[in-house]
C-alpha cells in the first residue's frame, strides 16, 4: 500500500467537512475521487498533503504516518499536490517555476527537466516566458510539470480540468494517461466524471463528506446510479 487514508475527519474551524473517509492507493494505481461540488474532494486532498490538519483519523504513506507534517515536508517525501488554483509563480519564468519544483531534487533536476519537456513540448517552447502569461491549459501543464520536477511517487491532482477549454482538457487527459502508463501513482479528483473514470483503475464517490460508493472505475462507469447522478443520463 502506498497511500492509506484511515477514518479521516477534517474541516474548517467548527465546520466538519469530511466524516469517516477511508481510501487507499497501491503503487502504480490511478484513483479517482468523484462527487458533486462541495462534497469535500479538495478538503480530502488538502488533509492528505498537510495543508489542513485532520481532526481525527490518519494518513499513512509508505511506512509512515503523515500526521503533524507540514505541506513542504509531505512534498519532500514525494507526495506532490497540484491544486485546482495551480499556485504557480506568475512573475517568474516557466523555467524558473520548473527549477523551483526541483528545489529538493537538484541532482536529478536536469534529467527530470528533459522528461517534463518531452511530455509537454509547449513548456519547452515557452520556457523563457512568464508563467502568468500562459494560457489556462499551459498553466495546468506547468503546474503538473513543476510537481513532476520534484520526482513524485504519488501525484495528486485537484480538478485538473477546471477552467480549461474542451480541447485542452482532452490534451491534459492524454498527458495524464501517459503518466499512468509510465507507472506513476495518481490520485485525481474531478467533476468531469466520465473523463476521470476512463483514466483511472478505481474510484471513490464522495458525497457530503462521506464515501458513498467505491469500486472499479470501469464498473462505476456503467452503474445506473452514477449515470443518473453524474453522467446526465436519465
Amino acid at each position: 500500500m502506498l497511500v492509506r487514508v484511515e477514518a479521516l475527519y477534517a474541516g474548517y474551524g467548527s465546520t466538519q467537512v469530511l466524516r469517516d473517509v477511508s481510501l487507499e492507493a497501491h503503487p502504480g494505481e490511478a484513483i479517482a475521487v468523484i462527487g458533486p461540488n462541495g462534497a469535500g474532494k479538495t478538503t480530502l486532498l488538502k488533509a492528505i498533503v498537510g495543508m489542513l490538519r485532520p481532526s481525527r483519523g490518519a494518513v499513512r504513506y509508505e511506512d509512515r504516518h503523515l500526521s503533524g507534517l507540514r505541506a513542504y515536508q509531505v512534498a519532500r517525501l514525494g507526495l506532490l499536490y497540484v491544486p485546482a488554483e495551480r499556485e504557480l509563480f506568475p512573475t517568474m519564468t516557466v523555467l524558473e517555476n520548473l527549477q523551483l519544483g526541483a528545489y529538493r531534487n537538484v541532482r536529478a533536476a536536469g534529467l527530470q527537466l528533459g522528461y517534463v519537456f518531452g511530455l509537454f513540448p509547449r513548456l519547452k517552447e515557452r520556457q523563457r516566458q512568464l508563467a502568468g502569461t500562459l494560457s489556462g491549459g499551459e498553466q495546468q501543464m506547468l503546474a503538473i510539470g513543476r510537481a513532476l520536477m520534484g520526482g513524485p511517487k504519488v501525484l495528486m491532482l485537484d480538478e485538473p480540468s477546471t477552467g480549461l477549454a474542451p480541447k485542452a482538457v482532452a490534451e491534459l487527459y492524454r498527458n495524464l494517461s501517459q503518466l499512468k502508463d509510465a507507472g506513476l501513482t495518481l490520485l485525481v479528483t474531478e467533476q468531469q466524471v466520465p473523463l476521470a473514470l476512463s483514466l483511472t483503475d478505481r474510484a471513490y464517490v464522495l458525497e457530503q463528506g462521506s464515501i458513498r460508493l467505491s469500486g472499479r472505475s470501469s464498473e462505476l462507469l456503467g452503474d445506473p446510479a452514477i449515470k443518473r447522478a453524474y453522467l446526465g443520463v436519465v
Partner: protein
Amino acid sequence: MTALLFDGIVQGLQLSLLAVGITLIYGLGGVLNLAHGQFAIVGGVAAALLVSFGANPLLASLGGIGAAGVLGLIVDRTLLLPAYRYRGEERLLLGLILTLGFSFLIDGYLNWKFPEFSLSFQLRVPMVELAGIPMRTASLAASLIAMTVFAVLFAFLKLTLLGKSIRSIIENEVGAELCGIDPSRTRTLIVFLAAMMAGVAGVTQGLFSSLGTEMGPEFTILGLLVAVVGGVRSINGTLAAGILLGIVNVFASHYVGAYVAYIILLSFAMATILVRPAGLLARFT
C-alpha cells in the same frame, strides 16, 4: 542644485538599504519590522565600539554589520516566534507590537549606556570633482557600497536557486510549500540578510555623516515611508523609491526646513497609497 541632487542620491541609497530590508521581511514573513532602524543603530554602535577597542575601521565595520545580522537572527528566532504562530492580520499586528516594544528597549538601553555616542569615522578623505561638483569621497564610497550591496542582492535573488526560492515565497507561499520549500527557514535567512543590510546603512552613515543612538525611530519611519512608496512587495520599486525620496528630502530640507520636509515625505507616501496602492513600479493587474 546639482550638489543637492547628489546629496539626495547618497541619502536615498541609504534609505533604500533600510527599506528593502523592511520590504523583504514583510513580503516573506508578513511582519512590518518597527525595529528596523534600530538594527542599523546597533550595527553602527558595534562598529564604533570595535574602533574604540583599537580595531581597524574596515574590520570594525564588518563586525558592526555582522552584529546587526546576529541581532536580526535572534529577533527572528525568539521575539517573533509568537507572531509566526499566527497568519495574516494577527501576525502583522502582533509583529508590529513586538517589534515596536523591542525598538523602545534598544533605544532606551543605548541612550542610557551611550548618551554621548556618535559614530563618525574621522577619515581624512579628499574631495573629488564629479561632473564639476565637489564631492566628498566618503559620500561616494558610501553610495558605492550601497550599490554593490544591491547588485549582490539582485544577483542572489535572480540567479541562485536559494534566491529564487525567496522570490517564490514572496509571490506565492502556498506554491512554494508545494515545491518542498520550508518558509520558516527561508524567513530566518531573509531577516538575517535584511538586518545586515540595515547594519550596512548604519555603518556607512558614519562614513559620510555621523550616527547617533537617537536616530533609530527616524531610520525606521523613513524606511517605512520608502517601503510604502516603493510597494511593500517590490524590491526594485523600493530601490527607486529610496532614491526618489532621498532627493525630495534633501531638497525640501534645504529649501523649507527639516520639519516641513517630513510632512512632504508623508504626503508623498499618502498620495502613493491613493494613486498607486501597490507601489511605484507595480504592474497594473
